[in-house]
């Protein structure tokens, strides 16, 4: 359980203590990943099923490595090889898999609310690996972890998130978590990409990139897709890059020297981020990847470790 939660559907429902519970545990998990033998027996005999209806090698692999490091069995189920192409509903697929008694179902789906639906209809623990534009809780947690690791704390820090906020589940998860840890969040992007009413979620909006990153301690760049047919949010990636992309000159002139630059990946090099920033001194993008495994280990451990009716955790 994460606090009182049997599932991890989003960060909106987590309070500060519950978020810290995961982050603090992830510190120990990260230590395991630095050992010569990267395996602990904690989830031996448990199984984690990755139910991915959207392609994603990175997140899926991250959950798989996390499960295996904890000695759990990991099964990958992707929609390409699936029976949904034969018209089986999400519920039927999940019920069929549940009959094989997995301990945790990790689901990624293009429809916002799919993990929530699943959690109400299956008996095992459900972890969202991203649903529509709703949330991507493990990404939000690993972003918090990375910033905390690099800056010491999130308390009083300013985090700027730049990109297509309206379609970003990562931005929403970050926005639900970071203020609870004491950070101020600024959202930046062209007005077409900032959703209505987002200030009500606790962020300030700034369309000008320079002002958005001025004094920021962390800058999260989001991937821009130009492939949205029928709803042109920007004229093209060329103009987006000019006004909202981060290159070495802007980084040098506008960022605090100790500011960190994050990106959930995959990067559109040259669009939202130039190569020299992605590979440069501000970038903590590779740390995010490593931290992602540690954070997912913490999530799986908390949700799958301990399904009996025993007393509260204490060291014997």
């Amino acid at each position: 359980m994460i606090g009182r939660h049997r599932h991890l559907i989003g960060l909106e429902g987590l309070n500060r203590e519950e978020i810290l519970q995961v982050l603090d545990l992830a510190v120990s998990m990260k230590e395991v990943l630095s050992r010569p033998v990267k395996k602990v027996p904690s989830l031996r005999g448990k199984s984690v099923v990755n139910l991915f209806f959207e392609t994603s090698t990175r997140t899926r692999s991250s959950f798989e490595i996390a499960a295996k490091t904890l000695s759990a069995d990991a099964l990958n189920w992707t929609s390409a090889q699936s029976s949904t192409t034969k018209g089986e509903t999400l519920l039927d697929t999940a019920k069929n898999l549940e009959a094989m008694r997995p301990d945790v179902l990790v689901i990624r789906h293009s429809a916002s609310g799919a993990p929530n639906f699943l959690a109400r209809n299956v008996g095992c623990a459900v972890v969202s690996a991203g649903d529509g534009a709703h949330e991507h809780p493990s990404q939000g947690l690993l972003d918090c972890f990375t910033i905390r690791e690099k800056l010491g704390t999130l308390e009083g820090k300013t985090v700027a998130i730049v990109g297509d906020i309206s379609h970003s589940r990562v931005a929403r998860s970050d926005l639900h978590a970071m203020p609870k840890l004491g950070a101020k969040v600024r959202l930046c992007g062209p007005p077409t990409m900032i959703p209505r009413g987002v200030e009500a979620l606790g962020a300030t909006v700034e369309h000008d990139l320079r002002r958005a990153v001025d004094g920021a301690d962390a800058v999260i760049m989001l991937r821009i897709q130009h492939e949205r047919i029928g709803d042109p949010l920007i004229p093209n990636t060329r103009e987006y890059s000019k006004f909202w992309g981060l290159n070495a000159r802007k980084a040098r002139e506008w960022l605090k020297p100790e500011a960190v630059v994050l990106h959930p990946g995959p990067i559109n090099r040259g669009v939202e981020l130039s190569s020299d920033v992605a590979d440069g001194p501000h970038s903590v993008i590779l740390d995010q990847v490593q931290n992602g495994v540690a954070v997912r280990m913490a999530i799986l451990y908390l949700l799958a470790g301990g399904a009996g009716e025993g007393t509260r955790a204490e060291r014997a």
Binding site: P191, H207, I234, N236
Partner: protein
């Protein structure tokens, strides 16, 4: 007329009309070094001044035409920046806003820069280019507002054509906010207009010509006022010509959506003059005084 260097120019005896400073009467205007130094009933005229007798004439601030077609690049047989600005200054218009339906359309910096270069070479009226809302004026994708603004555009428009897609109009209004650009809109629902050539009504019926209902303009005006309200974007309604438009704008004003000093723009004389009332035969070259009155009244 402008003075350069340390020249002093005095305009004497003319009727000075300047609404912004509430002046309407005979005054003497002194221009020093290209700037207006005094507007007064009695002025001591310096001996080195060049004095112009403008009795019986009007002296006003230069007019700004918010909506012209300079046709360059691409249709120089119709007009060029040079001929257009020459006509403008001859009529008292010291500044014009050039619409983007050139060939190629003004949806990129190169075309904007060409227009500005031609204007600088002609050195007549100031030209403020208006860039496209959509790439190629095709009504599908956004043009690069940032690039257009940086190159010198003061607004964007697909003029010549309406923005038929409400979705694109909404996105254009939002995107333009990032660059502080207003949208000048050509309000004409193409499905309602079809092949119409004049106002729908008794005159068109009698002449056997296809007419356009006034609502072809109204529906778009109402749409764009609603979208402006949704997005907070700036809409400028070009060539307003129907009572429905006036009502809609009045209503928008009453709801606080229009700043007080924001007049409706009227279009060039040709269109407004061709109401059904004076299209008694198939000739449309009569410029009724009706049209002039309608145009000049800014509180319509």
């Amino acid at each position: 007329m402008s003075a350069s260097g340390s020249e002093v120019l005095v305009l004497q005896g003319g009727r000075v009309i300047d609404p912004s400073s509430d002046v309407d009467g005979v005054r003497t205007v002194v221009v020093r070094d290209g700037r207006i130094a005094a507007v007064a009933e009695r002025v001591d005229v310096p001996s080195e001044a060049r004095v112009l007798d403008v009795r019986g004439q009007w002296v006003t601030p230069g007019f700004i035409d918010l909506h012209v077609h300079l046709r360059e690049p691409g249709q120089e047989y119709k007009e060029t920046v040079e001929t257009g600005t020459r006509a403008a200054v001859a009529g008292g218009f010291t500044a014009v806003c050039a619409m983007p339906n050139t060939l190629p359309p003004n949806d990129n910096a190169s075309v904007t820069e060409l227009i500005l270069a031609r204007a600088a070479a002609a050195a007549l009226a100031r030209v403020y280019p208006v860039g496209c809302i959509s790439r190629g004026r095709k009504g599908e994708d956004l043009a690069e507002f940032g690039e257009l603004k940086a190159a010198g555009c003061v607004a964007v428009s697909d003029d010549g054509s309406p923005v038929s897609s409400a979705g694109l109009m909404r996105r254009a209004l939002e995107y333009a906010l990032a660059f502080g650009l207003p949208l000048a809109v050509h309000e004409e629902d193409l499905q309602l207009v079809g092949k119409g050539v004049m106002n729908e009504g008794p005159a068109a019926t009698r002449l056997g010509l296809k007419g356009n209902p006034a609502q072809a303009e109204d529906v778009m005006v109402l749409r764009d006022i609603a979208l402006a309200e949704l997005t907070g974007g700036r809409v400028h309604i070009s060539h307003a010509s129907s009572a429905g438009t006036v009502r809609a704008v009045r209503d928008a004003k009453a709801r606080g959506l229009v700043p007080d000093n924001h007049p409706l723009s009227g279009r060039s004389f040709t269109n407004l003059a061709s109401t059904g009332a004076n299209a008694t035969d198939w000739r449309t070259s009569s410029f009724a005084s009706v049209a002039a009155a309608t145009l000049v009244n800014p509180s319509v």
